[in-house]
Each structure stands twice: as C-alpha cells, then as structure tokens.
Symmetry: none
Subunit: 526 residues, 2 copies
C-alpha cells in the first residue's frame, strides 16, 4: 500500500454544494460507504460551529464503527488576540472525539487583513498556538492552508511561513488549498514542488474544479511531491465542486500504479458513488468518469464489430476495475454486431442468425428514422428484440380504446380523467383514472384495468416522463417523442413512444412500460 493519504471531505466541503442538505443520519450513512470504499480519512464537519456537526461526531462516537478510516473534525485556528486553550470553538474540536483535527488557516496576506482583520504575525501565532494546543491534547493535526495558491502568488514568503509555522508546532500535514479553484496544473506543480522543497512539511492538496482541472491539478500535486490528497465523492462541492475523489483515486491506482485502496475496494466505486447519490438526492451524472452510467457505453456502430474482437482496443481500462460495465447502445449508427452484442446481454445467442439480425436492424433503422431513439430506451429495444425472437409471447393484453379528457374552468387548475378499455386475462375491462395531468390519468386507468389479471403491476410506479418535439421538415406534422421511466421499487426501465399526438406517444410508452414490467417479473400471458 502507498502511504499517500486519501482524505474525503464529502461531509464537510462537499456539503457546501448548492441544493445539497444532509441530515445527521445521511452523514452517518455516507460515512459507512466511505469506510467501505477504504478512504483513509473522513472529514465529518465542523463541530461547535454547526450543531448538526456536533451531533454527528457525538453519534459517530457512539454508533459508528469504522473498519479502516479515521474521523477528522474540521475547524479554524483560534480567534485573534485570544488563547487556543480557552477558545470555545477549539474546545469543541477536542470534545468531538475525532482523532484528527483539520484546522483551516489563512495563508494569503490580503485575506489576513480583510477577513481576519489582524496582523500577519498574529495570524502565524494563531496557527502555532492552535496546532500545538491540539497536538498537546493528543490529536493528530492537519492544516488546510486556505487560498494558498493565490496567497503564494501575492506573497510567496508569507505563504510558506504559514506552512513552516504549522509544521514546527506539530502539524502532521499541511494541505495547500486552491480555494477559488482558478489554478491550472503547471501552476499547482510549481508551487507544490517549491513548498515540498523549501519546507519540511508533508504537503497535501485540496482542489476545486473552477477551471475544469481539479482532477489534473490533484494529480499534478502528487507528481510534484504531495502525499495527501483531498476530494469528495461525485465531485460535490461549492460552485463547480471539489476534485472528484473517485476519479483521482482511480487514475492514481489504475493509471499510475499507486496501490491506494485495499485490493478489491475500487470495484465498489460505482456502487458506492450511486448509493451516495441516493442519499444526497443529487441525480448521478451519467458522464462522470469511471463510475458514470455512460462511462463505458458505446454508441458508434463503426466500432461495434471491432469491439467484439478486442474490447480493450476501445476502452481505456476494464470497467470491472471500478465495478462498472461496458454497455452497447443501439442507435441508427449501429450495425448488426451491436444488436448481436445486445442480444448476448439479454441471454440470446444470435450469432449466425443473419436473417433475424438483419430484420431487427432494419426495424431499428426504420423506427429511428421515425423519431425513436433506442439508446435512451433500453427496455423498448429489449421488447422489440424479444418480440422478434419469441413471437406472440408478449401479448399480455389487447387495447380496445382509450380516451382522456382535460378541462379547466376560469382560473382553476385543470383536471384530467382517462377511460381505457382493454381485454386482459380473457375479460373485457373498462377502467377510469384521474390525474393531475393526462398521462398521469392514463397511467392510473391502464394499471387499474390490468391489475385484476396482473396483480404484479400494482407495485409499478411511473418515476420519470420526458417529452421532446421532433420537428418535421414542413412544420405541419411535428412528431412527439415521449420517454417514460417505470420502477418496480428495486429497479427501473425506460420505454419510448413516438406519434404525432403527444398523448398517443405517451400511451405507447406507458403500454411498453407495463409490458416490460410483466416480462421482468417473469409473468406469463393470462
């Protein structure tokens, strides 16, 4: 194992993200995931300054058993003109029980003057006093040198003096922070190399992504001698976010050969990134490196036949390393090879079945020309393929007719009411559903009509609905494309409908969504 520190600040700096708000239980749940991933340090928050964080550390002491990680409490150096020993905020750091205390300190002359409103010498004294007090209390002390890179540009000697003051007082690490996030890799490399060369400090790095370089900046710092790297899961953080710790660790471990996490831990990366996004309620970013849903998804048909021969020629690493998967997307750019691959994913061996492959391909191309897009509607593609392979086995019900009425009076909100007539399980059923919109009403009516024959449908839920108007060249006959995501509580699937009429397109996607739900549940036609 490398002795480079992997220091996670999701719970503190990550929580600064706009719209992100974590309860104490959320924080505890995330800490468990972080420990499973195998990070070295978990910064839990700022006890004393924030009651929620005080409670987090109290409950962590009681309830949280960490396998691998060490908890860190974040706080500031003591007040100007006071003493660390009697500063209530410094006391709260000791009381938190965290074995590590990470102190933020100013290292930029202008910030000392405008934000702290004290002298440069007093700021150094605040660092010395607070670090040595906490070290004397038996804590491991790390220092976050805030605005370090801007401060170094403004006054190199002073910025480095802050690093020395911390080290000489007993700090174990001084993390150089690009607080405003404006640095580029070569600047980070130069400054880190200077700090490592001209102080005796163990140097760390803390980057933000304002130039889109947070990952590269963190790597440049490690190259230049930093041995402690901070970041957040999914790159959460204020403004453009912090360095995405999973990307940094994956790069260092997979590309640079630094064994940062215990063997096998990185394979949990995709699962953990997604679990944490369930807790934060921030939708996962499909284009996220390594762990994103699209990170190993291939669309271009050109490559599909070659991918079959040697997937490693078309992926920068094996997605298994991070617990992700290669996915073939079917689109009008696809060829037979990608349909064959997709079939294999679904458990059909279609190799050599040229007639079927050509038939499916022709159908896909025809449908995509009419506005379908199967790369966004995996379940509809699977149904298409299954219908070709299995024939009539998917005709769970027949639709006789449907109708939806929406009306509003004056300033009142509109109401929608749908009636559907279907034959299912040998019975003709007429059912009515209401909703706050026409699709909602159709969804309710359809599932009400089918539930007597297929009670499995009761637990399905429509969780996302997207609409796109596809223009036709002549303006009169615009086509509407609807994508619907349906969930059975444990997993979800996307289906598609395309029609001139938006409600007809929605109806198609709804029908596909429940049909797929029945296929997935292993139900036979009744």
């Amino acid at each position: 194992m490398s002795d480079l520190h992997v220091y996670d600040t999701t719970l503190r700096d990550g929580a600064q993200q706009e719209g992100l708000n974590l309860s104490v239980s959320d924080k505890l749940a995330i800490a468990v995931h972080l420990d499973e991933l195998g990070v070295g340090f978990i910064e839990g928050g700022w006890p004393g300054a924030n009651p929620k964080d005080t409670e987090f550390f109290a409950r962590a002491q009681r309830d949280l058993t960490l396998r691998n990680a060490t908890l860190a409490a974040f706080g500031a150096t003591r007040r100007a003109g006071g003493r660390a020993a009697t500063d209530p905020l410094v006391r709260a750091l000791v009381d938190s029980g965290a074995p590590v205390v990470t102190l933020v300190a100013k290292s930029h002359v202008r910030h000392v003057e405008t934000a702290l409103r004290t002298t440069l010498e007093e700021n150094l004294e605040m660092v010395r006093d607070t670090v040595s007090f906490l070290a004397g209390e038996g804590r491991r002390v790390f220092l976050d040198a805030e605005h370090f890179f801007d401060g170094y540009a403004a006054d190199r000697a002073y910025a480095l003096e802050v690093v020395r003051a911390a080290m000489e007082s007993g700090a174990e690490v001084v993390a150089l922070c690009d607080t405003n996030g404006g640095m580029l890799p070569h600047q980070i490399a130069d400054v880190v190399a200077d700090a490592v060369g001209s102080t005796s400090a163990r140097v760390g790095i803390h980057c933000h992504n304002d130039t889109g370089c947070a990952v590269a900046n963190s790597m440049a710092a490690v190259d230049a001698g930093a041995t402690h790297v901070q970041g957040t899961i999914n790159g959460y953080g204020e403004r453009t976010g912090n360095a995405d710790l999973l990307t940094v660790v994956s790069n260092l471990q997979i590309k640079q050969g630094l064994p940062l996490l215990e063997t096998g831990r990185l394979r949990e990366a995709t699962r953990i990134a997604h679990s944490i996004s369930e807790i934060t309620n921030v939708p996962p970013y499909s284009r996220q490196p390594y762990v994103g849903a699209s990170a190993f998804a291939h669309k271009a048909g050109l490559h599909a036949s070659a991918i079959r021969i040697d997937p490693d020629l078309y992926q920068h690493t094996d997605p298994m390393h991070v617990g992700n998967d290669m996915r073939m997307l079917v689109s009008d750019m696809a060829g037979r090879a990608s349909i064959e691959l997709k079939g294999r994913e679904l458990g059909y061996d279609l190799s050599g079945n040229d007639e079927l492959l050509s038939g499916v391909l022709a159908k896909v191309k025809d449908l995509e020309l009419r506005g379908y897009t199967f790369d966004a509607a995996d379940a509809s593609f699977e149904l298409l393929l299954r219908r070709e392979v299995e024939g009539k086995g998917l005709d769970f019900f027949a639709v006789e007719s449907w109708r939806v009425i929406t009306d509003a009076r004056g300033e009142e909100s509109a109401l929608s009411e749908a009636t559907v007539k279907v034959v299912a399980g040998g019975e003709r059923v007429v059912a009515t559903g209401e909703g706050n919109g026409p699709v909602n009403a159709l969804d309710h009516a359809l599932r009400q009509a089918l539930t007597p024959a297929y009670p499995e449908l009761a637990k399905l839920e429509l969780i996302d609905f997207r609409v796109r108007i596809l223009d036709a060249a002549h303006g009169t006959d615009a086509v509407t494309r609807v994508l619907i995501e349906t969930s059975d509580g444990t997993t979800s699937w996307e289906t598609i409908g395309v029609a001139g009429n938006i409600l007809e397109a929605s109806w198609q996607a709804l029908v596909e969504g429940v049909t797929y739900g029945l296929v997935r549940a292993g139900v036979s036609v009744r």
Copy 2:
C-alpha cells in the same frame, strides 16, 4: 488574435452522446450559435454515411450564412484496395460543399489490423490517396489520427509515419486523438512534443474525458505545441464526453492570455451554452466550469462581509468575462438594473421608480422559483412588465373554460378535439377545434373563438412547442414547463407556461402567445 484553431465538433462527435439525438434543424440552429460564439470551425457531421448529415450540408449551403466559422465535413479515408477518386463516401465529402474536410484515419497498428483488416502500408496509402485527392479538389484537409496516443505507445514509428504521410500529401492539420480518453496530461504533453518535434505537421488535439482530464489534456497539448484544439459545447460526447470547448477556450483566453475569440464574444458563452442545451434537451449541468448556474454561486456565510469588501478575493475570475453572474450580493442590483434596461427597450423610463422595479423583480423571482424561465420567453417577460406598468390594458379576452378530449380506438391514430368558452369583444363565444394533438386542437379552438373580435389573429401560427419536465423525482406529479413559439409571418416570439398539468401549461403559453400577438399588432381591447 492567436492563430490557434478553435474547432468545434458538437454536431458530430458531441452527437455521439447517449440519449442525444439532433434533427437537421437542431443542427442548423446550433451552428448559428457556434458561429455567434466565434469558433473557427464547425464540424457538421458525416455526409454520405448518414442521410441526416448529407441533408445538413445541403441545407447549410442553401440557408446558413456564417459570419466567422468555416464548415467542416467529417469522413474516413477511402476503402482498402480502392481509389479515393471513385470511392462514393469520399465523393460525398466533396459534394457536401464544405470548404474543410476532416478525415479520420487509423494510426494504431492493432486497429489497422483488426478494424480495417488491411496492411500497415495500405493504410498509409489510403491516407496519402484520400488527402491528396481532396486537396486536389480544392478542399482544406485536416486529419484526425484516431487512437493516436494508444497507437504511439504500441508503435511510435508507425503512428508518426501516419502523421507524415498526411502532411506530405497536403493535410493542413493532423489532430492527435485520445479516442479512448485514457491519457493523463504528462503523457499528452510528451507525445505532442515529440510529434511536433519529429514531423513538420501542424498538430491538433482531440480529447475525451474518461480520466476527468480532457480540459487539462487539451491545455497540456497546447503548451507542448499543438495549435488546433477540438472540443464540444457543454462537453457533449460519447461515454464521459469530449473536452468542453467553452472551458478550454476560457482557460486559454482568460488564464493564459491567448486571444482566441473576437473581443466580447466570450461574454456570450453562458447564454450560448444554455441555448444549446435547450436545443439538445440535455439539462444544463449546474457545476459546469465558467458557465454553470452554480459556477459563481456562493453559499452565504463566513465570507459574506469579506466578499462585499473585495469579491475578487473569492472568485477565480470575473464572471462577466463569460457572461455569468456571481449569485449572492449582486443579484438584487443586477436584477433591477436589467429590468430597467428591458423597460427602456420597450419605451418605459423606469429609472427611479423603485417600487415598480422591486415589485417586478419580486414577481420574477417568485415565478422563476416555480419553474418559469424568462430568458427563453422574452414575450412573456414583456407581458409581465407591461401588465405592471399599464394595468388592465392587456385584458383582451376572458377565459370561461376550456376542455380537450383525446381518444383512440385499437390501432388507429389518436384524435384530439378542444372546446373553449371565452368572452371577447363583449360577446360570449364557444368554439371547437380539432388537431393531431391536444395542444394543436386547443390552439385552433382558441384562435377560432377570438378571431371574430380580433381578425388580426388569423395570420398567427404556432411554429414551435417545447416541453420540459422539471424536478423529475416524482414522475408525472412533476411540474411541466412549456415554451411556445408563435409567428405572425414576419417575426416570432416565445411564451411560457408552467403547471402540474402539461395541457394547462400549454394553455397558459398559448394564451400568452396570442395576447402578445395582439400587443405586437398594436390592437386595443375591444
């Protein structure tokens, strides 16, 4: 101006993104935005291989007037064993009319063998033959050397030989592609420096973001001597996406002082990034560097008073450079100032009218919180402002009720029929309209009801209709935002509606659309 090429491939490589599907009209609209931004080259697609792209170039030749940018057609080197002069796909590139042709060629020995299934020498011959044929046809030829960095690692001499073959045959640029996206900045820097040093080529760079380093990799290549940089708006692209061109250009121009775009053009970056995401229907990423909604957003707290003293201590650059805004202190003032400016545009002098300005601002903030977005619906904003200033003068008609029924029988297409009851010109009118969709039917019924009192409405036409579901977490319970574009034959305007019910939102936008049409025609209430 720097002579570094800014080469946009949103329309070709960006369109490889999962779920992204652009019509020809979408592509033309994006090209207009790209030209406004001031990129040097717009890669429009692959004519010949993709009928949609063939049509794009045909329509671009006829309808697209570019101020600054040059169009590029993408294509491949000729088939193994053939001749460029008789290869139909090469012919299609000439026929596209694009002044630049960008040819993709293999530069990795294993890809030549497994994907092209030809000899290394024939691959070089394919490069020479195709480049020189197209140069002979008067085209500027750029070469995309696919998988170059992996190819260089596998066989440096052969990879460089491909670069030389292209240059010696008349290629103007050879762009080195990190097709699988697995490179890190130091690797890119080393290879680019070698390619620049050991060939006479003008070297370009094309990066993907699989290691989270696409921006840094592009910058490293420019540092190492590349003078042509490729990327996509909003970083669209396959898997984790391509290098985000706006971030790369902002870094090079703002941080490195390279004047890539004409003065003032970069100030359009935020607006253009968001307009393009309206077209692609990919929700904007709030943490996107420079142009994201959160990129300059500060959570109020510790630093608030210091930010007031000197905002530059807390932001890495002035957001004005990219047309973005710091979102904390400034918003109130900037909000009122822009409302005052808008008023002046409409002929109202609102300076000093603090009460009215505050009232409008409060209303706008409240509506935007509920999902309205006035950037995309100028006409609705104008109506809101006019209502505040002029009071009742815009009440052209009163709506009593509306209803729309959509039904379908078996496999038949759905039909929609709407009934609206309004009071206009002192008369109560009941009118019915049919349509191929519910919004279409409502539009017909509404205009039929109003035309007796306002014959000016007869010439209006609904020309665009866009729907976005906001806050998708609750499926069809989410709020729906509808944008409608209405034309009077000479000009067009956008109006907005937001409601839980998609048809209610559509109805609001329709009512606003005809109201604005009456204001615009100078009609008084009858």
